[in-house]
């Protein structure tokens, strides 16, 4: 007689499972439709990377050109600049920005009372809801000749300058403004993770005489480590898209800083619409970016798993 504890539950057909959980499936349907329509459907356009676009024949009818677009890409100096700028800006933003919300969350959790925490959280989260178009206007005003930056500089006898048109200053401005916009929003998830730690652990540690730093290192950090790891993987995966944010750079840059600020996205936009480059070539540039993103995501996920954390898949 089979042991009832080890007996397998009878396998049910997929149809029956769907029927049982029909409401969940119904709820997820719009999301699937969204992905099908806006993410998977348009993917046939990727074929353009291997074609030269013909207006009369459209995407499907345009003639195939094999790997020609990718060969051109390797010899294009502007693509090279855009490629390295994308990597530099993305990596630097990750390094500069990623720890900031964690530090902010810990500071708010540890040092603020509930009311103060809510106040600071609201103030710091607010910029996230302002679009880059508006924020860029504000930043330009701050850094313009009549702006507060130059007013202060002139008080100390400096000549007015335009940091947004200065190759040395432009990237740091990107990092700082990115932190300013996102620090509050990104800290919410860490604050939630911190709130999920059993307060008795902190109390017990306090009774045992653990210092604040010790409590942070041995209770708070392990409590949010898995969240940090998942978010790091997500950030790395989206690094090239969101790190080198098109909206931020496009709204702030100008030709004097192209050499340090032109990223793959802005390069595609400028070349497609200002110069009128071939859509096939521009698609090839986009495909290269997507492939790099995929590799980065895989690498980050593998690394996290090797470090003993849970990966995304």
């Amino acid at each position: 007689m089979a042991d009832p504890t080890t007996a397998r539950a009878p396998r049910r057909s997929l149809g029956k499972t769907i029927l049982q959980y029909k409401y969940f499936y119904l709820m997820v349907l719009p999301i699937l439709v969204w992905y099908a329509l806006f993410s998977y459907g348009p993917m046939y356009g990727v074929t353009l990377a291997f074609k030269t676009f013909n207006y009369g024949k459209g995407i499907l009818g345009s003639p195939w050109t094999g790997l020609d677009n990718f060969k051109t890409l390797l010899t294009d100096p502007e693509f090279r600049t855009a490629f390295f700028n994308t990597l530099i800006i993305s990596v630097m933003k990750l390094i500069v920005h990623f720890p900031m919300p964690i530090i902010l969350a810990i500071v708010l959790y540890e040092f603020s009372r509930n009311k103060a925490r809510r106040f600071f959280q609201t103030i710091l989260t607010f910029p996230h809801f302002i679009s880059w178009v508006v924020l860029a206007g504000i930043i330009m005003n701050i850094l313009s000749k009549d702006g507060i930056y130059n007013q202060i500089a002139m008080l100390f006898g400096a000549d007015p300058s335009s940091p947004l048109a200065d190759e040395r200053a432009f990237r740091p401005i990107l990092y700082i403004t990115h932190v300013w916009r996102e620090i509050g929003w990104d800290s919410i998830i860490y604050l939630a993770a911190l709130a999920g730690i059993n307060p008795e652990l902190f109390e017990a540690a306090e009774v045992d005489g653990a210092s604040r730093f010790r409590r942070l290192l041995n209770i708070a950090w392990p409590g949010i480590k898995s969240t940090v790891s998942v978010l790091l993987i997500l950030h790395v995966g989206q690094m090239l898209t969101q790190g080198a944010s098109f909206e931020q750079i496009f709204n702030l840059y100008s030709s004097p800083v192209y050499s340090v600020a032109d990223t793959i996205d802005t390069y595609i936009y400028r070349t497609s619409f200002t110069v009128g480059g071939d859509f096939g070539y521009m698609t090839a540039v986009g495909v290269v970016k997507s492939v790099i993103s995929l590799v980065l995501l895989w690498a980050a996920n593998t690394f996290a798993k090797r470090m003993g954390e849970q990966g995304l898949y």
């Binding site: 409401y23 119904l26 709820m27 349907l29 719009p30 439709v33 969204w34 329509l37 806006f38 676009f53 013909n54 207006y55 009369g56 024949k57 459209g58 100096p77 502007e78 330009m140 313009s144 000749k145 009549d146 002139m154 000549d159 007015p160 300058s161 335009s162 947004l164 048109a165 200065d166 190759e167 100008s254 030709s255 004097p256 192209y258 497609s272 619409f273 200002t274 110069v275 009128g276 480059g277 071939d278 859509f279």
Partner: protein, 547 residues
Amino acid sequence: MVKKITAVAAGLALSTALLAGCGGNDNNGNDQAASPAASGASQSQGASAAADNPYKDPMEISVAFWDADAEVAKIAKDPIAQEVLQKFNIKLKPVNTTWDDYAQKIQMWAASDQLPDIFAIDAIGTQYQRKWVDQGVVKALPDLAKYPNLAEYFEAPDIKGLNVDGKYYTVPRRMFPSVDWSALDRIVLYRWDLAQKAGITKEPETWDEFKAMLEAITKADPEGKHIAGLTTTQNKLIGGLFWLYGNPVATSDGSGSDFKWIEEDGKLVPAVFSKKALPALQNMRDMYDKGLIDPDIALAKGSDSYDKFVSGKAAALLSGGGFVNFNGDIYEKRWKTAYPDTDITQSVKVLKPLVGPDGERAHAIFKTYWSESYFSSKVDDKKMDRIMALYDYILSPEGKDLLIYGKEGVDYKVEGGKKVMIETASLNEKYPARAFLRQLVAYETSDSYDMNNPLIANESIRKEAVDYIDWVLKNTKVPDYDIRLTYMSTPTKDKFTVLDQDDLLKVMLSKDPVEQAWNDILKSYKAKGLDKMIEEVNAKAKQEGIQ
């Protein structure tokens, strides 16, 4: 259970609504199509539907034009525009574009086969315009014999030169009768009132005098506003001023594809890359380093720059649109409210083309037109005929008079062969859509430089405008260049663009010496095939006998 089903159904409905909202196609414009019928003209339409009327069938024509939504909406308030459209039984459907997005939108519509019937863009010479013609995106114009005014319009040499294998694919918007008039398209306005307060007594005529004036104003800062030197409404205009220091043929319209060629050391080269470039760049950098140029010039935006200039925060303004914009954007929109009791022409002057290092007075050189009308290949012959008829009428003497002076006997009368205005109120307010209809076909900017033409409403500015162009025509000379080289097609040249405004800004703001900064730029152009393009053009020019 019922509750669950209701909740799920509501969720689905909401998602579907959101998806539907996202998936809308705005290419067809909104529903505010303007029709003469909408304003009570339907009765007369009935009358015009006589059997012999070639326009008896109503026709809806979609038009992509800058601010088309607002412009077409004005037709309902404009009896003249209604009369013109009614004559051809046309209803215009606006497809809005803006100055910021028109090129992008039109290229996207071309790629996705969603072009409106008529669309306005400055695309001559670009890679994509050549493809539109080769790949059947735009419709060729029919035989113009049936449209005498249009046929005459195409007799102008640089418009005639646009034919491709004997066919025309566009109606360019003519501005001027000759390139000498291009001086009007890049003017420098300066605050003469502030210059006088800073001790300047003579209006500048040379680069040194101009620089001395800017230096005096910025140093004296007469109104205590930390006044900047020269600014611009768009940074793509800057070549139109700085190349004038000894290299005027290098001026281009900012599209990247209209660069002109000169002969140097027995070889044809784009003027931008000639030996004359370096002194012009050095002069520009000197001005920047001395604080005579607004440090924010790289990020300059139209309305901000106008505000800056009028409010006394910039000593000079490089602007497009000549005296028409001087009247509209500076005087009408800003100056007359800010300084109601002053005569603007005593406070703001327009810089005459300066004497360059070679002793010549030079001005920017462009084409005689700017931007073009294109017609989607989906437009059938019947609709094309109607469009051509409308264009022909707007270019006819009758159409021109109606759209400039209004109605004879009501708005103006003819005395001794001259038109004398009767209407004292602004015609722009009385007939708010007439300018749009005119500009849909051609700008004919030169018509405004006439004391009898009320388009430049402020008479002092109009007088200055007329005097200015007379002076320019008498005192400046357009240097030699061959426009055929600009239009010439070679494999490398077709893909080559020269965005000189970007290069000028790079040199201006670079920390490196001018020569080094310029050499770096030259190196990047060489990597993109500059030498190969020069070889190809020289070979083809030789073949075609162009010297």
